[in-house]
Symmetry: C2
Subunit: 293 residues, 2 copies
């Protein structure tokens, strides 16, 4: 399948599933805030990674939908909390008011909290998997989301804003803040296949590590080279804030070279798995490297 | 065992376990904030409920420690977030500065987020239980913590502050905000026993529902009758804020009568399980009704 078709099909199927997933909430207000952020577009890159990993493990049915929803729900909760005034203090997300602007801060905090619980609840209740699969999925996603993963990275990122960081520190932050959940997405996709090998899981983790970094490096590059309209957020905002980025550390050409290196590492893992350039994971790595927003 | 000894023994064992539980964090700052709130005393009532439920199911070993930690970790995260300026805006918790006062708001938000993930991670990794037990525990705790449980109750509670509520609305809020996690504590304790019956789980849920309400009613009574020193928070704070409470709705005597009714319901469930007044769950119900802080 061509990547554009895959992404479009994944997005459609994912969003249809998403709408049918949430149980009624005792607070309509809270439900509205949750839906507001869940349905605020986005590339749905993580669901696509879950599905592509399942396909790479020759698991070709709709089982990917529940783990994809769990991963995306964690991602959405983290965006809601990251946007809060005490955190990044952002008013816009994908061109629309952030959750705490559309509702209020208390609601945004609770919507994020509820979404995190929901991710675990969805997986725990997933009927398509046996108890051992569910448990392995929950181990992976909780580790990716917690203080040794995404939240730890967000904390380091906030603390790093007050000082100039090294390349190593920057990569540690990104490995945790973005990479940990991307790796969990790939692991969950692979675990849709009951008998996935340890070797495959490790190659997918290496692939995830590399595309996670490539994604962030590209983010930093786009902040300099793209426009506010295309990005949906103010262009040049990193430089204004004197933030340490791959571009500030390595220059534009150096950052592009570094992204290319990560791409090569990702491809190496896929080759080890016996996949070639027609595979969706390969095309996704190319997409992450070459994306324009 | 006498309740005082049980609570003291449970607390000691629980806190020793808690200290040994957390993996190193990539951010020492985040780890400090997490430890600060985790180790800030408290009655450890929920761990005691987990253990007492396990004992009521004739499961008498240390298996209760991991589920007790998971439940308490959820409780502690909820307190950190509830205390935030955008929520209840409290400066003190058990006589010490709240997390966002001791650290800052961003750290407090992230510490809460990390703790929630940690609760699920601890259970998913619990070696003492089989995959089916782990899954049932995760279903219970995630439902108790999410938008249909604790977080939903917190949202309704915040919205209710702007209007006068009925007794039914107040009970709905408390059933969700406090009761859902108390019920999960009892369920997790019972699930330590591999072959616990559905009947036992239902009786424990009824018991949890009743003592959860009794706990809240007693809270409202103590706010009027106790002193700031004993409570560790300003006495009469509910009345100052014109908050709807059991006392404002029913009067002091009516509230005491209502608490007694809930106590009777709790005892009825225990009797159905074949337990008597020497059982710890019975003593815990008495303690919740008669506590002084």
């Amino acid at each position: 399948m061509k990547l554009a078709d895959f992404l479009s099909d994944t997005r459609t199927r994912f969003e249809t599933h998403l709408l049918s997933t949430f149980q009624p909430s005792p607070s309509q207000h809270l439900a509205s805030a949750i839906h507001y952020s869940l349905l605020n577009g986005g590339k749905r890159l993580r669901p696509a990674l879950v599905r592509a990993a399942a396909l790479a493990c020759e698991h070709d049915n709709d089982d990917w939908l529940v783990p994809a929803t769990a991963i995306e729900v964690i991602h959405v909760y983290s965006l809601i909390h990251d946007d809060l005034p005490a955190m990044d203090d952002d008013d816009l997300r994908r061109g629309k008011p952030t959750n705490h602007k559309a509702f209020d801060e208390a609601t945004a905090i609770l919507a994020g909290d509820a979404l995190q619980a929901e991710a675990f609840q969805l997986l725990a209740n997933a009927v398509n998997f046996n108890d051992a699969q569910v448990r392995r999925m929950l181990i992976s996603i909780s580790a990716g989301a917690g203080h040794q993963g995404m939240v730890g990275g967000q904390m380091l990122d906030i603390l790093a804003e007050k000082q100039n960081g090294t390349l190593e520190q920057l990569e540690t932050i990104h490995r945790l803040k973005t990479g940990a959940l991307i790796k969990a997405a790939l692991t969950l996709g692979a675990l849709c296949q009951k008998n996935v090998s340890q070797e495959t899981l490790e190659q997918l983790e290496n692939y995830g590590d590399a595309i996670g970094l490539a994604f962030q490096i590209t983010d930093d590059i786009l902040d300099v080279t793209s426009s506010t309209e295309v990005l949906g957020k103010p262009q040049g905002s990193d430089l204004d804030g004197n933030k340490t980025t791959y571009v500030s550390l390595l220059g534009l050409t150096g950052a592009e070279h570094h992204a290319q290196q990560q791409f090569s590492l990702a491809i190496e893992s896929l080759t080890n798995m016996g996949l070639n350039e027609s595979s969706l994971l390969w095309q996704l790595a190319e997409y992450i490297l070459n994306r324009e927003y």
